[in-house]
Subunit: 248 residues, 8 copies
């Protein structure tokens, strides 16, 4: 029930068309219901042009198809993350125009163009093995209407590579750093720029890496300030936060 | 705003005393405000006779005094957990009639008697070192109006001690088991009774005990069914849950 | 040997039919044997209508068949948890009337109807990925004779969804909350109701989730009181405890 | 050496005032030196009005005095974090006009006013024990020129308290959430707003809290998107990142 | 109730002196009571000459005094572990003849001599810092009637020291190895002898030692067979097990 | 070089056949070489009748065949642990008379009979899922010449089952307890017997079991004394230690 | 841009061939660019004869082929680590002369001979299961021009085996110790030699080994000095460091 | 027994003064005894000029005095690590000429000059809080005869500081990097030099630093090759290994 409907109801009360006791009944559940509606409306308004996002890992093809069919009637773009090529193939029945990004393992359905910002987000990776996570971030950013500059393979083992592209990094509005191994790149970038850095530890590594724990702790303890950390391999989450900041 | 006030407002709308547009303004924040109110009222109703509970650890004497002074005008009983004797001494200025339980490290101010249930809660401990946690549970239970039977020092190293008191354990409506070391008592009790068991791992132990991690994992992995686990040393939390169950 | 049989034996002793020395032999193992019997009888009595429960994970089809054949002569209902469809197919040879719940991965054989309580248990899930754990709980609850209301997909990322169904949650006698990711739903529900909450962390998540450790710690440290925690993914255990409480 | 100086040198070379070989010597260390200078200059420019920040924990009074004396000649504001009252008293010899915030445990020396933004940062805390971390963030934000709105004690155990102030939270440009225990507040706030959320786990808790590990994992695994996490108790770091975002 | 008493009761039943119904009452609690008794008797019999053992850590002087006064009437030797010199001084009021071992931090009261075995237990330490744990083991062993040979400071950093005393180690019936740091000594000893080795990790170390976790894991993963591990710093536990084995 | 050879050399020196300086050269490496020999001889002597043991996990069929061919000429029994049925089938080419134990996953080649002790070792398991580990222990014990009594499925969830067989447990000379889940059985057995208990945590469990960590910590922190712990699932190691003790 | 080129540019400036403003443009990016170049040149110079190294794990055959094709024109030797036989087979299309080491799982392409040192590196392993890691180290060392002596299967369970080969170990210039299980071999070797020891924990083990954590902690806590530790299973890294030291 | 004594014994055998059988007896224990002697001699020879090193932490003043008195007669230099000023003051009674380094918390007694190498070791620190660990390393290195260049406060948050001193770092023969927080400095240095890097994680940090675990994992997972890691805060260990390498 929105403001207009509420006004209408109250006018009906004034006009005697609806007795006060009946109106009470109609308003009784308002607190809870309306939170839902208000929130929903509020969110929808804000989210104009936002894609519908589905986390694909662990969902069956049937479950994903159900969701996609449900979204058929909506006009929002669609992003499905973490699906394999065979899953994508099966989903193409529903959206033959969908695009699959093999590196990012994402499926995108474009129904309209998002407004695009002028300022770009830099997506920086330490090694080529971090690319899937970075690409998931890049695909997400672009679908949310953010220009993206990809800067790859500039890990600190050969720090000169980072200096070669430092200007591009510094002129971004927000920087995402995806790094596995020891994750030191986030600190180095954080020390060289004056922009918000979103650090994504990746599970790239072995042994005492413990599935991404090493770079996660490294990034949380960074001696450089201005770094916010998201979950291991969470390229989508980093992009969502970066997009929010870029669009402020 | 409760139902009666809402009805009154709507009647004023019908009578023309309040224009619909003004009523909309008055109702605009209803969803959020009322959640607060509803929740508050609902809670207050349910909590008739409930003590006010303050977690004392890490609060300064001044902070605690502020809270107590604020509660002066209320008629609820008061429970402060985890305070040392000198802190209690300082707080007696405000409530000279307060009682201190040295083992449980709790302070209680009784302003009225809680209704008491017939059925009792058994509070079972493995060793004498687990007593402070168990006593915190017992003090809490009693203040919430639950009879308590304390069964102490029946750890599994001498399991015959448990059998000596098994009947008392079995006839309780709910059983709290507080155990440190390896926490095996929770499993043994859980296997011998058909009542809900609330297991409290304690930090009593050393070495590979890791501050209570050993009995915590032990209790979560219990081969006996019907056991719910609370945080390490959380005697109050166990009692709160046990009281809820006992009062169903 | 129960009380009546013991009395009969002693009367035979008095009558000279059994010499004291022979009676000593018959009573010698009483302490141990009878614990077994007493426990057994006691348990059986209490468990009237209780299903036989078999944890299926890690058992071979042959092992499961052996157990089922052994249970053929008993009149109890049967619940096997965590079995895959092909295992179920193989077991249907023995119980063609068995039912398989694909989501919960449970097999149920109904031989009689359990007495059912009036009060229901609410089984609340944060996301659709938590459904298998929740459904294992629901299947268990129903077989134990508890009405169940399922409330799905009300995770805190869209908290308005929870408010839409708050009344159903609040009117339950016991609430089970199954949540992966960060498990915050347990705290939010715990803060909104005055009923015992059984929290089940699920292994749904990735990265720093560490197989369910994140929601497990979250639930153990909940700022809301009245929450008992069971092992990660332990839907059956949550249901067993909830049933115990619901049947008090 | 900046561009102008470099041009001047090259002109002197052309004019014969500086022989090429001498110029080579002067330029030899340019790569490394200039990085330093460039960075330094670049940073200084950006940091106009930035306070000098000193992490006080673990530094002796003598070490802190040395730093302060060294900063005497600079015109920047000064922020020292994590010092106790006696340390502050000792440091007042050098800056009698310094201000101490007992809750935040910070010392501030104001030498000039920072430009202030219109948009504010909301600093939200779950419980009163989280206030020191939140206040460290608030003091830092204000010194960096950001208006701050403090919203305290709105933890999810009584979620209606959050709804009472939701509008203030939603209208902030960036939101900092400081929460101990299970840290669920970050997820709940993240689900209700469309602004960047900086989550700070605090070490407030006990037992299976493991010094802040529980809320840290909780926040990293949040089901709500748009959350960046900083180190446990790192109020300063959260504020630094929030200020960066607010000033974009 | 032992066999003789049971026979007597049954004879009284036969003679009519005790009616069967009364006998049933007397026998009713037999299962549980007798487990206790049997266990107690059985234990006492086995434990002839066994000391009473009290774990002193975390007990107040008053608690320890209570226990000692309670033991006054018993003829068993007494061992209190992990008490500081001032605690010992306070306890001497009750047993002026008690002996304090400063290294082991143990108090011993000798009331009678335990039978002593011919075969000895070797207590081997890696470094001088491991001596307190080793000495706790040695004191316990001696009080239980086992000859002890102490072999100190033979850690693997200078393995020749171990070879100098290898014969003494090999001729022991059981060997206790107490080692901190990386705990490698247990493996080396285990590889050189054909006797049971009880390994005690100690908390001696720093950094990645994690309070004894490093040698604990090391000992559990030993490539040498025939090693049983006890808790970190648990000299008493190692001695108890070694004594059991030595006395077989 | 053994004693006889050394004597021969010295006699040659006396006879002038070998000059002292040459003898010095021949003896120079004695310290290291002879350790090897001495150890080897000593071990061989002690190990009369000992089986050769090969840890099969992670070894290829070719590697295992090489080892078996190498052992063809020796008269020792052979034990290979942790091999699957197909591996066993492949190895039967070399030893057609070999026996495979499907539960224990062990292969045994009997070439002679080990001397057998009178006293037996009890191998106690908590649940049927622990049987593979227990059976590995039992197979090992028997091959080493120890009578074994298997006591299965006596976990503490139904503790009466343990009491039914308590006498058999108590009369063993050594007891091995294999338990997964929370591993409480080790403590309960340890509290009921006065014999050495070797505790083997098993990886049977899920969730917060962490692959056997839960029962491992449980067993290390046991409130019962006289328990030595071996690595998770290490049935062979438990048996080796138990055999050593049984044969003292 | 090297010194000579810089001098030439400056001479052109003096001669008027290049105007100062143009020279500024050419020098503008010097700081960053030249770091790259300098580093690159410096590295290349030092790396004369160094192989190109590719970490093969997790790379697809296509990705590896791309890299190899790219390296076709270079004259450096090539080392690919951690690839399976089928991957190697696929890569032979590009380099038919490549050699595959099945144990080390490495592929080597030799285009020229590296200068070889006189001094050798000893690669010592505890058990045969550690050989893959050790062989990866050995292959790497040889390709980098270091003679290697392999000493295998000298784990501390039979320490005499180590003494048999001690001279070879002691005369190495650097020693690599690869050990799984408890990793004690590193400490024992470290105590017997006066040369740098590079310790490589391996993931060989089970249960409380936690994928190599046990030997990793063991090696970091070694009571022997002079040991540097690399990541679990990192044979390549150990060899790289050892080669650096050997070539000093 | 050394070579000369052995020759003498053999000559006595030849001369008939000692019968071969007696000589066998005298030589019987040679293997073990001589290992000790040989090792001892060998070590002493190699260690000419090496200081005696005592780890002071956890040792009482009396224990330290005993050690020092014992060393009075030896001509070696002495190094005691990790002692506080009051302990040093107490020890000056024995060596009034001893020097105390307040930062490193070391005591040094110089009795003679160690031969000094030409090549130096660079000791690099990330922050001023890492200085105590670095200084412990520097003091150790100097006492072992290595020139040291200290490079402080060049953490990656301001990486230009490292470039300012890069030449000094690159020209060292070995580099020690001591870093807390996230320890990224080790990777950055490792990527810029072609010399062995010894990385020392320090316990400087808080929250998710877990007492040095964060930089420890970071250093073990470094993307740069040529890094060996020692225990957290182990400045002495790093210096010992660096000295070994520098002296090759």
């Amino acid at each position: 029930m929105d403001k207009k409907e509420l006004l209408k109801l109250l006018e009906e009360v004034r006009e005697g068309a609806v007795p006060p006791a009946d109106a009470v009944e109609m308003l009784k559940d308002l607190p809870y219901k309306d939170i839902g509606h208000t929130k929903f409306d509020h969110m929808r308004e804000l989210r104009k042009g936002y894609p519908e996002v589905i986390y694909g890992a662990g969902k069956s093809i049937d479950q994903l198809k159900d969701v996609l069919i449900h979204l058929k009637e909506k006009k929002n773009n669609i992003l499905i993350t973490r699906i394999s090529p065979p899953v994508f193939d099966a989903l193409m029945d529903i959206y033959p125009e969908a695009e699959y990004n093999e590196l990012a393992r994402t499926m995108v359905v474009r129904k309209k163009h998002a407004e695009t910002r002028d300022t770009y987000v830099a997506v920086v990776t330490a090694g080529t093995s971090d690319l899937p996570v970075a690409e998931e971030a890049a695909v997400t950013l672009e679908l949310f209407g953010n220009p993206v500059k990809r800067i790859t393979d500039v890990g600190v083992a050969g720090i000169h590579r980072l200096f070669d592209v430092l200007k591009v990094v510094r002129e971004a509005r927000v920087i995402i750093v995806a790094a596995g191994m020891e994750g030191a790149l986030a600190s180095v970038v954080g020390g060289l720029v004056d922009k918000p850095v979103i650090a994504v530890p990746t599970s790239v590594g072995y042994g005492a890496h413990f599935g991404g724990l090493a770079p996660l702790l490294s990034m949380l303890n960074s001696c450089a300030s201005g770094i916010g950390v998201v979950n291991i391999d969470n390229g989508f989450g980093a992009a969502y936060l970066a997009s929010m900041i870029n669009k402020l």
